[in-house]
Symmetry: C2
Subunit: 363 residues, 2 copies
């Protein structure tokens, strides 16, 4: 019998996985899932790793097992993980299939999420496919293309003032209506799902010394950290790769958690997917980075646009946020840091926003 439980690393709360928490119900700290793992990959998609996950997703829309493509740039062998080829065009689909499968199997009928972008689209897609009603709370200024996609999947869109208000509204509505609050920045389901990127990269041949990944709410970075840590425990790789986290220069909570509050000017607004001021798992993220001897690199709009141009020239059709990681690599290489082989997840598709990308690249 597989034991699976919710566990709070702070107050010690523990309970079997028969109900849902996006955070600890006792102390409001981020909550985790504890379960047995066994390495026996079989099949495709994230199903392939069901023995390494807390439970098996109920459906597949083709998420996971994305291509890993190698290019040599500035003397570094870069393994690009093409997460933008997931079903809704972003890596969030891994987490959404896990989170919404849980909602479905716990007999929820409605899910609520606050997101201005890829998570909203992804949650709407999986909610529809699983027969769940979805409400997506978005800031009024969210990109039109993403709002249209959410509507196409028949989710209700509720527009509010800004991202902070969206979060409050989602929380309030989920409490009133007893809906499943997806809360991707909190919920361990997204984090656990992202472990599979590490497994895939390993099976597809990556044995490098570094991972360079954008940090929004941190679920991607923490998933990669956990996945590679397990690969070390299993004896498949010797050392954890160094994790370089990437934030925008204007919103830099993880950088400041490590280095203290600093005065830095600059604008990184085009990387909207990583502009998250208060990631709930802030300390966990900072700790994962420092444990691997890593660093947080800050990038600005100019650097991101340059990297975006380079990636599109190489044939990777991604959105601006996804270019932040290459911008960071370019920066650390210029500063003399030596990296042999790096894994870079390319997180979101540019197909959703061709016109915006064309405008950015025309300057």
């Amino acid at each position: 019998m597989i034991k699976r439980s919710w566990v709070c690393r702070r107050c010690g709360f523990k309970e079997d996985l028969n109900s849902y928490y996006y955070r600890c119900p006792k102390c409001y700290f981020p909550i985790d899932l504890e379960y047995d793992i066994e390495w026996k990959p079989s099949g495709w998609g994230i199903y392939r790793y069901k023995s390494m996950l807390p439970y098996t997703p109920l459906i597949s829309l083709g998420e996971g097992f994305t291509p890993l493509v190698v290019r040599e740039l500035r003397g570094v062998k870069i393994w690009f993980k093409l997460e933008y080829l997931n079903p809704s065009g972003s890596f969030k689909d891994r987490g959404s299939v896990m989170a919404l499968s849980l909602a479905r199997s716990l007999n929820y009928e409605r899910v609520i999420e606050d997101s201005s972008g890829n998570t909203g689209v992804s949650v709407a897609l999986y909610a529809q496919a699983l027969g769940l009603k979805a409400e997506i709370i978005v800031p009024a200024a969210a990109p039109l293309c993403k709002k249209n996609l959410i509507k196409l999947f028949k989710a209700a869109i509720i527009e509010v003032g800004d991202r902070g208000r969206a979060c409050e509204e989602a929380l309030k509505r989920s409490e009133v209506s007893k809906a499943f609050y997806v809360a991707h920045a909190w919920s361990p389901t997204y984090l656990e799902a992202n472990k599979t990127i590490a497994y895939e990269a390993f099976e597809q041949g990556f044995r490098g010394d570094a991972i360079i990944t954008p940090i929004g709410s941190g679920g991607l970075l923490l998933g990669l950290y956990k996945g590679f840590s397990e690969l070390v425990e299993l004896g498949f790789i010797k050392d954890l790769p160094t994790i370089i986290g990437v934030q925008g220069v204007s919103i830099r909570p993880v950088y400041e958690a490590i280095h203290g509050v600093v005065e830095i000017k600059g604008d990184s607004s085009i990387a909207d997917g990583i502009m998250v001021p208060n990631p709930p798992r802030l300390n966990e993220i900072a700790s994962a980075i420092t444990k691997t001897g890593g660093e947080v690199v800050l990038v600005n709009n100019n650097e991101i646009v340059q990297a975006l141009r380079e990636l599109i020239n190489l044939g990777f059709l991604i959105e601006p946020t996804s270019a932040a990681a290459l911008a960071a690599l370019n920066k650390v290489i210029n500063e003399g840091v030596r990296i042999r082989e790096a894994l870079i997840p390319l997180t979101g598709s540019g197909l959703k926003m061709i016109d915006d990308i064309a405008k950015l690249l025309s300057f």
Copy 2:
């Protein structure tokens, strides 16, 4: 030593693969590639099958090894092959990486293609990634979203009156400038690349009795036919699945090649990807279908929109043309045809045209 040559099944022309022909240089019949095959899959993407292809592509942008997702609808187990998750959002990427790799290795500097849609986008993407200059000749009425994508990949766009003029212009320009005329409807490179869809479906578990696939220029249908024929020759499967080809009711050359000229009214204009009046390999397509005991099914706009709605509700974000195959399945099932398990390739992504899809579904 691997022997690879161009061969014309009509006039007997034969020549080693050291130059490029999109059709027989002697009799202007469609030309083919002849080469040895050996089954030893290894790695991912279409590289996995390099021993089954005439030559190895020079790069990968993540094309191929798309997910295969099973759903049961109207008593039929349907294996949806998610070709829309290819790098530029359509199955054409398989052919483009093969065709443009050949252009590059034969030292061409420029490629020319006439296409109003997915092929143009795909050729522009691979041309850029391979360092080739591309000219895409499009009818003025081609969808704006696709023209913008082509421009993003820095291909030159030449707008002409209609599809027929685009073809003439491409031919003329390629002769004058000694550019590589991609000619996806003629060139065997696209057809050969599409064989890999059959190999993948087989490896991913498909053992069904039918394939339902849209017919535009026919490269997809012929690739599937060739791929499954080889799987029979290799002894991996016993019988060829029955191939049901799907055309729009208003442009139906393959239907008429089999049944003779008929008078049928109806509009299928929303499936722009299959509205090809003169596929060069018409007889070959008709013959592949009849040899498997298959049929051509004609569908109209209403039937396509209905299937599109059904597919998007299931969580498959595709463009209208891709829904034609499910529309055809619905039709034959209603007519009492018995199918146990069917393979349906979902050919193109809806991410490029969210607004158009939203409009279609709102009626």
